[in-house]
Assembly symmetry: C2
Homo-oligomer: 286 residues x 2
């Protein structure tokens, strides 16, 4: 896992070179290179490896997904959104570069990321490259991550009619969709078949959901030092979160049950992955 | 020209259907469907026709470019950018839907636009489709429109060392790049050769530059009713504009000289286009 993380960091550093106009590239680079777990790109590379692909082929896509993830962080942190001052232990993008630059850096990443894929994955051939871009557009846009963020913001303004269903929608799109993008593109690059793609999509949905439940739990139970961002805001605001809705004990049970299902899904289908075992292990909360 | 505009409007209406979550699609649709000249999509369709292509093949790309143009308007109008309340005679996106929704609508359009291209242009084949997407990423992103906007914002904060060069950079990227995207993709869809592509890129650069000079002139000389947006702000703020830098008379001369060059470029190369004649005619200021 650490080897994959190093590989991602090396390549992110390489892809995020500073060009003119310097300020926009500096602002993009700042958030993309903040220290992070690189979970999404690692999942992309590992899925590619699991299905017999060459991880070098998945590197541009893996890095592009981390850039897209950074884009969502930059815009979610804006004053008009969650208004957060810290992210990964550092000041948020707009705190360093100003609001206008943060909006533009996010915009730029949305086209820079797929440009990295097309520029550096020519060897995959046009057909496969196009498939990957279609996945990117689907999960990055109004049917994906953004749908989740929109419903999240709306649920803060007025209480949803069906909070359980709404929360499930938010978690599916805001979090699980980027997991699906990572895992599905890794599988597509390796040339996995439809059946394998379906299994891994199911896996990504469960893992993404579990990850978000864990995040909600940690928001309530950990410290700024541990998480690198301001915590407890959601709880205090009575925001729609898994722990606010179901309580801490039920949240922990559901989290660990989902992770059990994830592990079962792989073992039942004869898929062995040390990296995914480590990921589920890290998300688990006892 | 009016037939092409109608065709664009019909298809924009069709592509911008409202899905769940409704608010994001409503917000995207609002700005994309504001009444406008549809200059960019018309140029895309007309270039495709000029080089022997079928304009039906260029419709998704033409509409996608109008969506991208709407995206730049939504984000440029935000309070942290130009802070504009009116656009095309109507309240700006964030005035109607709020700032968070406006940021997200712009984000969504950045991936929705190329998704429209891939979904509805399958008949072009993967190779050509990929070429069009590459053009989109290049001109929409940090090397294109956004580069122009970044340098524009920076030039407001501190006076640039070389104002003429800086203004030329801003106009090239903020305005001419979307003209290049429109015209180049139209030519690529029609299967135009490298020589034709170069001529039309040169043409797009000159036309885009002329268009921006005309916009700077009109900002100073026309009324809110004529333009549908608040005017004179740039002049008052001493902003870097063509008229502030060179004066009104020189601006008019340069504009009309550029338009002459545009017309010469087509006639010298035996390219006849009634639509482009109408466009240069409309931009001309006596």
């Amino acid at each position: 896992m650490n080897k994959l993380i190093d590989l991602v960091n090396e390549n992110l550093d390489r892809f995020m070179e500073i060009n003119y106009p310097e300020n926009i590239f500096k602002s993009m680079r700042y958030t993309v290179l903040l220290p992070g777990k690189r979970l999404r790109p690692v999942m992309c590379l590992e899925t590619c490896r699991m299905f017999g692909g060459n991880i070098q082929d998945a590197l541009p896509t893996a890095c592009a997904i981390e850039m897209l993830h950074a884009q969502t962080l930059i815009h979610d942190d804006l004053p008009c959104m969650d208004n957060d001052d810290f992210r990964r232990g550092k000041p948020t993008n707009h705190k360093v570069f100003g609001e206008a630059a943060a909006v533009l850096a996010g915009d730029a990443l949305l086209t820079f990321a797929p440009q990295i894929i097309t520029k550096h994955s020519k060897n995959l051939g046009a057909e496969k490259l196009l498939k990957i871009l279609e996945e990117y557009f689907q999960f990055a846009g109004a049917y994906g991550v953004i749908a989740g963020q929109v419903v999240d913001i709306e649920s803060e303004k007025s209480e949803p009619l069906n909070p359980c269903e709404t929360l499930s929608y938010i978690h599916t799109h805001k979090t699980a969709d980027l997991f699906k993008l990572s895992i599905r593109t890794g599988a597509i690059i390796a040339g996995a078949g439809e059946k394998q793609l379906n299994i891994m999509t199911d896996y990504a949905q469960k893992l993404g959901f579990a990850f978000q439940i864990a995040d909600d739990i940690l928001d309530e139970t950990s410290t700024f030092e541990q998480m690198g961002k301001t915590l407890g805001k959601d709880k205090a605001a009575g925001k729609l979160t898994y722990t606010n809705l179901y309580g801490l004990d039920r949240a922990k049970d559901d989290l660990n049950n989902l992770l059990d299902e994830c592990e079962k899904l792989l073992s039942e289908n004869g898929i062995i992955s040390d990296v995914f075992s480590q990921i589920t292990g890290k998300i688990r909360i006892r």
